[in-house]
């Protein structure tokens, strides 16, 4: 399907995909040099919604910056806030109560499912199937309602605080989450029958955009992109943080390296996230959600700190360089899709344009997160 063909570079034309194109899911532009239906060369142009979050980090105090993190990735914002609060807590030595840690993990996993659901719907829509998006959004709506009741917002959560949480969960949330788990498991069976087993879908993705382990390593790809190429890498397992060591879950790994493998990894991850939520609800301890001695002023000691977390889109890292004042000296945000998108240019050479768009869908792009 995407095997290289004899290209004649003298007969090419340039095609602009984007910046406004439904398949790019945001404002992303790919300058494609085409030979008929085949891509000779591609150059991705990003930065259309660049907001310079890192400079804002150098001008705001630590608590003022909390809300910036959820504006990076609008589908899986919780994971990004988690990375930020973890690095500041690590730097200033703030202890987090156990209950808060468990609630954080439950929230991050719920958000991961909602992100994967939206990706699932949008990905199948990229391939020409519209109705799965509607089913996926229906399930996602349950998660958003649950999160809204607790956090106060549907997408751009500012729920985590240094040392704990903004709001405790109530019985209503716990009941809703417990009801959601069997519902989601039933839906997963539905998706499998509707989409995963569909012969057109499988033929379209099998062998599409093969990624080798070596390419993943050279570009620093993480998340399902790496796990679909046989790399068993998940920050929750490789460098356990928060309460993740307490949970029993697996990291789905597929060795094919094609778009179908990346799809399968994400669908399996939904089930693993459900397992984490289930265990988290069972183990959820009583107690406070903020430390007894609330930190009044966050002033991490001078030094250089790094924290990586596994978000819905992969390995998100925060580097904090503190000079001992209440404003960070430097705050670097390492976004996972930045690296995942980067390998698109090299991989899509010689592919047909519709295959390249299917590949782009399988990368799970969120453009504000690339551009920051």
């Amino acid at each position: 399907m995407s095997s290289p063909i004899q290209l004649q570079p003298d007969e090419t034309f340039v095609l602009n995909v984007g910046p406004q194109h439904p398949a790019t899911h945001g404002v992303l532009r790919v300058k494609m040099e085409m030979n008929g239906e085949y891509i000779v060369n591609a150059e991705t142009v990003i930065g259309y919604i660049h907001r310079m979050h890192e400079k804002m980090g150098e001008n705001k105090t630590y608590p003022q910056y909390l809300m910036n993190l959820s504006r990076m990735d609008y589908l899986g914002a919780m994971g990004y806030s988690h990375g930020h609060v973890l690095v500041v807590e690590k730097a200033s030595g703030i202890e987090v109560p156990e209950r808060a840690e468990y609630i954080r993990a439950i929230m991050v996993e719920l958000n991961r499912i909602s992100s994967h659901l939206f990706w699932f719907g949008a990905f199948v829509m990229d391939l020409g199937g519209f109705s799965p998006l509607m089913y996926a959004l229906q399930d996602r709506e349950h998660i958003l309602d649950m999160l809204e009741a607790v956090t106060g917002s549907r997408l751009t959560y500012c729920y985590f605080r240094f040392g704990g949480l903004y709001n405790d969960v109530d019985d209503e949330f716990v009941d809703a989450a417990r009801r959601f788990i069997p519902r989601m498991r039933k839906s997963l069976i539905k998706y499998e029958k509707l989409v995963t087993g569909n012969i057109i879908f499988r033929k379209r993705l099998e062998g599409n955009a093969l990624l080798s382990k070596e390419t993943c390593r050279k570009y620093g790809a993480t998340s399902a992109v790496a796990r679909g190429s046989g790399i068993n890498y998940d920050v929750r397992k490789n460098e356990p943080y928060s309460v993740y060591p307490e949970f029993d879950f697996d990291v789905p790994v597929y060795h094919e390296g094609d778009s179908l493998a990346r799809y399968m990894v994400r669908m399996d991850e939904i089930e693993q996230s459900l397992r984490i939520i289930e265990q988290g609800l069972d183990k959820l301890p009583d107690g406070p959600i903020m430390p007894a001695k609330k930190p009044k002023l966050i002033k991490p000691p001078a030094g250089d700190y790094y924290q990586a977390v596994e978000t819905a889109r992969g390995n998100f890292g925060v580097r904090l360089v503190s000079d001992g004042t209440k404003i960070p000296y430097r705050l670097k945000l390492r976004s996972p899709t930045f690296s995942n998108m980067h390998l698109f240019d090299e991989t899509c050479r010689g592919m047909m344009i519709m295959d390249a768009l299917a590949f782009m869908g399988s990368l799970d792009l969120v453009i504000p997160e690339i551009d920051r």
């Binding site: 990003i46 890192e54 390593r217 050279k218 790094y306 990586a308 890292g317 360089v321 001992g324 090299e346």
Partner: protein, 180 residues
């Protein structure tokens, strides 16, 4: 353990054998001291090149390597041969010392966890370092981003044009003396 292996490989980069290596080791204590003392004003001597083994639970990485700009390619080759993946490249503007630090992060896919940070410092007036795109193709965008934000020239980079900033941008917003 990969940490010891990599550490030995890095130490070969710093030829003055024992005394030079042990000097940075003492340096490792220094951040701890500044932590307890709240005095930031006291000028500490600039860090010497070398390898420091860091406390992972405090800093979030295992090895901190500072090299000269012309040793950079050798240092990056070491992590490449040990099958590290590139995580990010960024800079820090130390305006008081008139230097810009370029920071490279590397990590591993397997369970022998080891995070390596490679740093190099250049003068603010002539910020030039060699590109590592020949070793890690994925460094391309990271280097372009660092060029956008700090104005660092990556010598030999194939396509050093603005990535995130507008295509006609001639300013570098993350420099500490940048005024909008």
């Amino acid at each position: 353990m990969i940490i010891e292996k990599i550490k030995l490989a890095f130490q070969d980069l710093f030829p003055v054998a024992e005394p030079e290596v042990s000097a940075p080791e003492e340096k490792a204590e220094e951040p701890e001291e500044t932590k307890t003392k709240k005095k930031v004003k006291t000028k500490k001597p600039p860090r010497l090149n070398g390898v420091i083994e860091c406390n992972y639970t405090v800093h979030g990485y295992h090895l901190d390597v500072q090299v000269d700009a012309d040793q950079l390619l050798d240092a990056v080759s070491i992590v490449d041969q040990a099958e590290f993946f590139i995580e990010s490249i960024t800079g820090v503007d130390w305006i008081k010392e008139d230097q810009i630090e370029i920071v490279y992060d590397f990590s591993r896919y397997d369970f022998d966890t080891c995070r390596v940070v490679i740093r190099t410092r250049v003068n603010r007036s002539s910020p030039v370092v060699p590109t590592i795109t020949d070793i890690y193709a994925g460094a391309n965008w990271h280097e372009r981003e660092t060029h956008d934000f700090f104005g660092i020239k990556f010598d030999g980079h194939p396509h050093l044009i603005p990535l995130l900033l507008p295509e006609d941008a001639d300013f570098h917003p993350l420099l500490k003396d940048f005024k909008a």
